[in-house]
């Protein structure tokens, strides 16, 4: 059989290696590089926004182009940068963590990656079409995104379909891998938390992606085939759009953060040299957050005029999410407590994650309080909230993961000084960028506006300065990664003194094929 044959040679040479690869490590790298490219692209859009908002008045772009920037920034970052990064990490790490030779469905794996560049090329190309690209926000509320949308919306819909297909295939692969390919002795309750969070979110993705596909298909029908799902003049219901979108959207934002929880739960114990506190409760908390994420969607819609009973239900349910989220934070702190900590770059990012994500959680609880949300909703306060959970939250966790596993991927240690420089500039930049946005929102600045009243001028320029600092700091990350791929101090197999888990039992760099025979069950410890 070919497996025996494969065994004797490494990857194919040249471009075909990447095009035809079914190797989980290659596909993981493809996802991660793709994600980084999208991160820079989405970041460029963000810098256009921050440049325009540096001062009151219109300086650089037209309002319509500004709207395309906010829309594309959100779509590219959520679907192009954050999600693929976690799929990349899953590809690289899940087989290594559970002692499997590869993902369960390697050909589908290749396919689910390679359709993504086409989806994004199509989506970005809409900006060059007549009438411009999507300009209705990443939440694309109807009827702004149907009856009143630019003609390119059809391409946007198609792109969303492809992204959804990619996500669903990726999720099926993850579930099949985790459920079927664990090494003997790797029981469910011994799996690293990153594997657990992926298992749970993969189910979430399979549940909600079809809803997203459904809602964009309904848009397609409204635009081209004369239906009126969301068109009030034809008896349709614009609010239905929002219910469907957020039934997908809220689980989606939770998916992004649950992965991050998994990463941080791996890194903190390593650098605290102490077992993760409350492993079981971490698993249960993940499951409860996933469950609750299905029944809170309408907290994004407190101003649409739901009946009082509905408002109360969604308020209480949303507040409940703070309980399992709190458990997670307390467990991380308890893990650090009485450990023996060192502060290498991954740990710095992980600690910053815990603090800044928690701040985002705090504003989340505030936003959950319906009558006060009337004031916060659709202002920069919400923008600050979700950027705190997504940037120093999800994105920092991805960076932490990159620094943490990079030696295992490349076989070399990265440049610690540059890593720390990257961390500190990002940390300062991100807070300068987003903290003042809380004040802007409270003082009354709506989101998604290209120009603003004079009283918002000061915090906007501070925020813009932070934005440019944060944005340009990411070039350091690019440099560190390239440098590390090319060479450096040889990494040991163990890499980090306190690291636990099967991925550290294989050589550094991890060979092209690993765990072709299952690992020794004695190597598998409770987490």
């Amino acid at each position: 059989m070919s497996a025996a044959h494969d065994h004797h040679h490494g990857p194919a040479k040249g471009l075909s290696r990447w095009l035809y690869t079914t190797n989980h490590k290659d596909i993981g790298s493809l996802y991660l590089w793709f994600s980084f490219a999208m991160f820079l692209l989405g970041g460029t859009f963000a810098l256009v926004i921050r440049a325009e908002l540096f001062q009151p008045g219109l300086q650089f772009v037209e309002p319509n182009f500004f709207n395309q920037m906010t829309t594309m920034h959100g779509l590219v970052m959520v679907f192009g940068a954050v999600m693929p990064a976690f799929v990349g990490l899953a590809n690289w790490m899940i087989p290594l963590m559970i002692g499997a030779p590869d993902m369960a469905l390697p050909r589908m794996n290749n396919w689910s990656f390679w359709i993504l560049p086409f989806a994004f090329a199509m989506m970005v190309s809409t900006m060059f079409m007549e009438g411009g690209g999507p300009n209705f926000g990443w939440t694309f509320y109807a009827p702004l995104s149907t009856t009143y949308a630019p003609p390119s919306t059809t391409f946007f819909i198609f792109a969303v379909h492809i992204m959804g297909a990619s996500s669903i295939m990726g999720s099926i692969n993850v579930i099949a891998t985790i459920l079927n390919m664990r090494a003997p002795g790797m029981t469910l309750m011994k799996m690293p938390l990153f594997v657990w969070t992926w298992l749970i979110t993969a189910y979430l993705l399979i549940a909600v992606m079809p809803v997203l596909a459904g809602v964009v298909t309904m848009m397609l029908f409204d635009i081209h085939f004369g239906t009126s799902f969301f068109n009030a003049a034809g008896g349709g219901d614009p609010v239905l759009f929002q219910h469907l979108f957020w039934f997908f959207g809220h689980p989606e934002v939770n998916i992004m953060i649950l992965h991050a929880f998994g990463v941080v739960s791996a890194i903190i114990p390593t650098f605290a040299r102490k077992r993760l506190f409350g492993y079981d409760s971490m698993v249960y908390a993940t499951a409860s957050i996933a469950f609750l994420s299905f029944i809170v969607w309408a907290h994004h819609m407190f101003t649409v005029g739901m009946p009082l009973a509905g408002q109360l239900f969604f308020m209480y349910a949303t507040m409940l999410i703070a309980v399992p989220t709190g458990v997670k934070v307390f467990n991380w702190v308890a893990t650090m407590f009485r450990g023996a900590m060192t502060f290498e770059t991954p740990m710095l990012f992980a600690i910053a994650f815990v603090v800044l994500f928690t701040i985002g959680g705090f504003t989340g609880v505030m936003l959950a309080i319906t009558p006060v949300d009337f004031q916060y909703h659709d202002t920069y306060f919400v923008v600050a909230h979700f950027h705190y959970v997504l940037v120093p939250g999800a994105v920092f966790s991805i960076m932490a993961a990159t620094y943490y596993w990079l030696p295992k991927w490349t076989g070399y240690m990265y440049d610690e000084t540059l890593g720390k420089l990257h961390f500190w500039l990002s940390f300062i930049g991100v807070n300068l960028l987003f903290f003042p946005q809380h004040f802007l929102g409270l003082a009354g600045m709506p989101r998604r506006i290209p120009d603003y009243a004079l009283q918002f001028a000061n915090f906007n320029w501070i925020s813009s300065v932070g934005g440019f600092l944060f944005g340009f700091s990411q070039l350091i990350l690019l440099f560190v990664v390239i440098k590390c791929v090319k060479g450096g101090k040889k990494a040991t197999d163990q890499v980090w003194e306190g690291a636990q888990g099967l991925e550290w039992t294989v050589p550094s760099p991890a060979p092209y094929h690993t765990f072709e025979t299952p690992p020794d069950p004695k190597l598998i410890h409770a987490q």
């Binding site: 009151p56 008045g57 219109l58 309002p63 709207n67 411009g132 300009n135 209705f136 926000g137 509320y141 009827p143 702004l144 009856t147 009143y148 630019p150 614009p238 605290a272 040299r273 102490k274 077992r275 409350g278 492993y279 079981d280 409760s281 649409v304 005029g305 009082l308 308020m315 507040m319 409940l320 703070a322 309980v323 458990v327 307390f330 702190v333 893990t335 650090m336 407590f337 009485r338 023996a340 900590m341 060192t342 928690t358 705090f362 609880v365 319906t370 009558p371 006060v372 009337f374 659709d378 409270l442 003082a443 009354g444 709506p446 506006i449 120009d451 603003y452 009243a453 918002f456 000061n458």
Partner: protein, 382 residues
């Protein structure tokens, strides 16, 4: 220990607030307390929750910082080996739960009050359009002398494009503000003519979406006469950032006087619409209307932004058959951003703007459309 931390924090924050208030209003850090019972309740709720999360933050971040300082390898500590404690875990599940209940109770009370739209003394309909608001007073005699008008951004394009100095209420000023009486329960009935907008005045703590096909309700009792400003909060297309809200709250007697003046105005326009308009008049008035209502899409000089916003220079709809121009202006073009101005402008204004697009920017249809023609056209359509 907790209350001490709270004390220090509030001291620090109030110093900061005080210092910044002295400097410039532009350093506003917090939500306005507002001018209604509702807005004060909202503000108090906001502050209560804020202090709760600050207290939790102090405990959690404090424990973390303490560990970071003391439990580092460089100090030669040996890591402990504990990794679970059912007791502790139950405690830190229950405590947040109790805190949440403590927050939910006042929140429920305030929300329930906000939903009580009964017993209003004045009803005003608010209709969102791309990109202006319409206010209609729903009073007994509204059929004959309906007081209703559109409210459009009054800041000039030159200010926005940095041609001239920006003035104090930059982007927060309108041509015709909504006027309401103080100490009166005013109910707003909100809907939209095109996409979803949201009507928001922070000082009232009211934000509600205006949705096509739906009527949302909310209410306000303003206690202090004054001028209150807000903005559209829901992304509604290109000019979303340029559809502010301005509300003038007047003492009830002043409000009544204003209202009667408006009714007189309605009668007067009806009479004026019978008079003849000259080309010069129409062009002058038309230009003003163009710069206020049309220029955002069709651009200065009528060059448009094709293909979404067509040019008016040489456009067949502008210089061809008068009836076609009239139809476009009065009824709009359904399914596009071109709004129906039949209700937004009065017949005199409509006549002027139609004449202007037919004869401005080098177009030369040559005819002067009269208010009476417009009236006849509208009547015919009904």
């Amino acid at each position: 220990m907790l209350s001490k931390a709270k004390l220090w924090l509030s001291l620090a924050l109030s110093t900061l607030l005080f210092w910044s208030a002295g400097l410039h209003a532009a350093w506003d850090l917090n939500m306005p307390r507002g001018v209604t019972q509702m807005s004060r309740d909202t503000y108090d709720l906001h502050m209560t929750i804020f202090w709760w999360v600050v207290a939790i933050g102090v405990v959690v971040f404090g424990a973390m910082l303490w560990s970071i300082i003391n439990h580092r390898k460089s100090k030669g500590v040996k890591p402990a080996t504990f990794h679970e404690s059912t007791k502790v875990e139950i405690v830190w599940t229950l405590i947040p739960f109790l805190i949440l209940i403590a927050m939910a109770i006042p929140a429920t009370r305030v929300l329930t009050a906000a939903y009580d739209t009964t017993e209003s003394e004045l009803d005003v309909q608010i209709i969102g359009y791309q990109w202006r608001w319409e206010y209609r007073y729903m009073r007994d005699n509204m059929d004959e002398e309906e007081v209703s008008f559109f409210s459009v951004l009054a800041t000039s394009r030159e200010e926005i494009n940095n041609g001239v100095e920006k003035t104090e209420n930059y982007l927060l000023e309108v041509d015709r503000p909504l006027v309401i009486p103080t100490n009166t329960k005013v109910r707003f009935l909100m809907t939209s003519a095109d996409v979803i907008h949201a009507w928001w005045v922070p000082d009232f703590a009211i934000k509600k979406d205006t949705i096509p096909g739906f009527i949302n309700e909310t209410w306000v009792i303003v206690e202090e006469p004054g001028i209150y400003r807000g903005q559209c909060a829901e992304l509604c297309g290109m000019e979303h950032g340029f559809m502010p809200i301005e509300v003038h709250a007047l003492a009830p007697a002043d409000f009544q006087a204003w209202y009667e003046e408006q009714q007189a105005g309605v009668r007067q326009i009806r009479e004026l619409a019978a008079a003849e308009m000259t080309m010069a008049d129409a062009m002058a008035q038309g230009e003003q209307i163009y710069n206020r209502n049309c220029v955002a899409c069709h651009q200065p000089g009528g060059v448009g932004m094709p293909p979404v916003f067509p040019a008016l220079v040489g456009s067949a709809k502008a210089i061809g058959d008068t009836a076609v121009t009239m139809d476009t202006l009065v009824n709009g073009v359904p399914g596009t951003a071109m709004a129906a101005y039949g209700r937004q402008l009065n017949p005199i204004e409509l006549a002027a703007i139609i004449t202007y697009v037919r004869n401005g920017f080098g177009n030369s249809a040559g005819d002067v459309v009269q208010p009476a023609d417009v009236n006849a056209y509208i009547q015919e359509g009904q």
